[in-house]
C-alpha cells in the first residue's frame, strides 16, 4: 500500500515537473512551440474607416447571421449595396495593399481567415466569392465608366477611397 502511495506521489511529481516549463514559458513562446494557449487574433482595422456596420461585439457574434440573411435578400430580391453585403466586408477589410499585394483567404493574414483559423471554422464563401478587392484596383481613374461598373454594389465613399488610392 505504502509503495503504491509513493509511486503515485512520484508520478504526480513528475507530472508537475512536466507541466512546469510550459507554465514558465511566455504565451508567445508557447504558441510558437505548438502547445499552450494560442494568441487571440487581432486583425488590423481598416485604416480609413471610422467604424464597422455594427459594434465589434455584435459583429463577432452575429456576422454570419447577417451574411446568411443578406445573401438570400440579394439573390432573390436583388437587394444590393446593402449594409451587410459580403462585398462590403471584403472591400473594407481586405483591399489590396498600396504595393498591390493581394491577400487571399488561403493566407493566414486574410481578415476572415485569421479568426476562422483560431475558432476552427471552415467556410466555403470564397470558393465562389471574391476574397479580395482586386478588380477595382485594375481600373484607372480615366476609365470612369468601367470603374462604375466594377464598383456595382459598392458604396460611394469606398469608391472614392479607391480612386484616391489609385492615384
Amino acid at each position: 500500500m505504502r509503495i503504491w502511495i509513493s509511486i503515485s506521489r512520484s508520478i504526480a511529481l513528475l507530472l508537475l515537473l512536466g507541466t512546469m516549463p510550459a507554465g514558465m514559458l511566455s504565451a508567445a513562446d508557447a504558441a510558437a512551440s505548438g502547445f499552450g494557449k494560442i494568441a487571440i487574433p487581432k486583425p488590423p482595422k481598416p485604416a480609413d474607416a471610422e467604424h464597422c456596420v455594427e459594434p465589434v461585439a455584435v459583429m463577432r457574434r452575429d456576422h454570419m447571421k447577417f451574411l446568411t440573411h443578406q445573401r438570400d435578400a440579394t439573390v432573390i430580391d436583388g437587394e444590393r449595396n446593402a449594409k451587410y453585403s459580403l462585398v462590403g466586408c471584403i472591400d473594407c477589410h481586405n483591399p489590396a495593399s498600396a504595393s498591390g499585394e493581394i491577400i487571399r483567404y488561403e493566407n493566414p493574414q486574410h481578415f476572415c481567415a485569421e479568426c476562422h483559423a483560431y475558432a476552427s471554422v471552415k467556410i466555403d464563401c470564397f470558393e465562389c466569392h471574391a476574397d479580395r478587392g482586386l478588380e477595382r484596383q485594375r481600373q484607372s481613374k480615366s476609365d470612369a465608366a468601367a470603374w462604375d461598373r466594377a464598383g456595382a454594389g459598392l458604396s460611394v465613399t469606398t469608391l472614392r477611397r479607391r480612386l484616391e488610392a489609385a492615384e
Binding site: 439573390v75 430580391d77 437587394e79 444590393r80 449594409k83 470558393e127 465562389c128 478587392g133 456595382a152
Partner: protein, 251 residues
C-alpha cells in the same frame, strides 16, 4: 437546463455608453462625417417589370456576336477553357444558314428567361428560380450540382463548373459544383432599373442603333414593347410554349 444561445449583444457597459454619447456629439458637430456609407441610388427589384431582350439579327455581324460573347466573359469572368463541351458558356454564337440563298445570320444565344422555365420545374432544391421581375437565375447557395436543369433547358443555356476557380469577380460569384447561365446582367439591372444596359448590348449598340435592346416587356410604353408591337419578334422554339423573354428579329 441549458441556457438559450445568446442572440443579443451583451448590454453596453458604462464606458461604451459614454463612448456612444461622444459619437452622437460628434455627429452633431459634423453631420455626415460618421456616415459609414452614403449609398448609391440602387433601384433594386422591380416586381411589376418583366425584363427582356430584343435582338435584331439583321443588325448583327459575326464580329458583333463575337463581341457579345467577349463582353459577357469580361463582365462575369468566365472564359472558354479548352473548347470542350463542358466549358462554361453563358452566351454562344449560333450561325444559321439558309441553304437556298446562302444567307447566313448570326445570333447570340443565351438563357431565354422563360415565363414558364423548365429548369425551375425540375430543380429538386429550388435553386433554379425565377425572380419576381422574370429573370431566371441559379441560387448557387442552394444548388447541389445535379444538372437536371441543364437537361431540361431546350436552349442549352446552362453550363456546369467542373474545376476549382480563382479570381472570380465581385459581381459574379461562381464556383465548382454549381450550374450557371446568363443572368441578364442582374447586378446592372438592380442598380439601374429600366435604364440598365446588359454587357452584351453595351458591346454592340452604337448610338441610337440598338441591335440588342433591353427593356420591360410588361410596360406598353417601353421601347422594347413598342418595337415588338411594330415589327414583331420571334420566340425561339415558340412551339414549346415557354414564352421566353428574349425575342429575335430577322430570323
Amino acid at each position: 437546463m441549458k441556457s438559450e444561445p445568446q442572440l443579443h449583444p451583451p448590454q453596453p457597459s458604462r464606458r461604451d455608453f459614454l463612448k456612444g454619447a461622444a459619437a452622437v456629439a460628434t455627429t452633431l458637430v459634423a453631420p455626415g462625417i460618421l456616415l459609414y456609407k452614403t449609398g448609391q441610388a440602387a433601384t433594386g427589384l422591380n416586381r411589376q417589370a418583366r425584363w427582356g431582350l430584343l435582338i435584331d439579327t439583321n443588325a448583327l455581324s459575326e464580329a458583333d456576336v463575337d463581341a457579345c460573347v467577349t463582353a459577357c466573359q469580361r463582365e462575369h469572368g468566365w472564359r472558354v477553357q479548352d473548347g470542350s463541351e463542358t466549358d462554361a458558356q453563358w452566351v454562344r454564337k449560333v450561325t444559321l444558314e439558309d441553304r437556298a440563298s446562302g444567307h447566313r445570320s448570326f445570333l447570340p444565344m443565351m438563357c431565354q428567361h422563360c415565363e414558364s422555365p423548365p429548369c425551375v420545374d425540375v430543380c429538386p432544391t429550388g435553386a433554379s428560380f425565377k425572380r419576381a421581375d422574370g429573370i431566371v437565375l441559379v441560387n448557387k447557395h442552394t444548388c447541389i450540382g445535379c444538372r437536371y436543369c441543364m437537361m431540361a433547358c431546350p436552349y442549352k443555356a446552362r453550363s456546369f463548373i467542373h474545376e476549382n476557380l480563382k479570381d472570380q469577380l465581385a459581381v459574379a460569384p461562381r464556383g465548382k459544383g454549381t450550374v450557371e447561365s446568363c443572368t441578364l446582367c442582374v447586378h446592372r439591372i438592380d442598380r439601374d432599373g429600366a435604364n440598365a444596359v446588359p454587357a452584351c448590348a453595351e458591346a454592340v449598340n452604337r448610338g441610337d442603333s440598338k441591335a440588342i435592346l433591353f427593356g420591360d416587356l410588361n410596360d406598353p410604353q417601353s421601347e422594347i414593347s413598342r418595337r415588338l408591337r411594330q415589327l414583331g419578334g420571334t420566340r425561339i422554339r415558340a412551339d414549346l410554349g415557354l414564352n421566353p423573354g428574349v425575342r429575335y428579329q430577322g430570323l
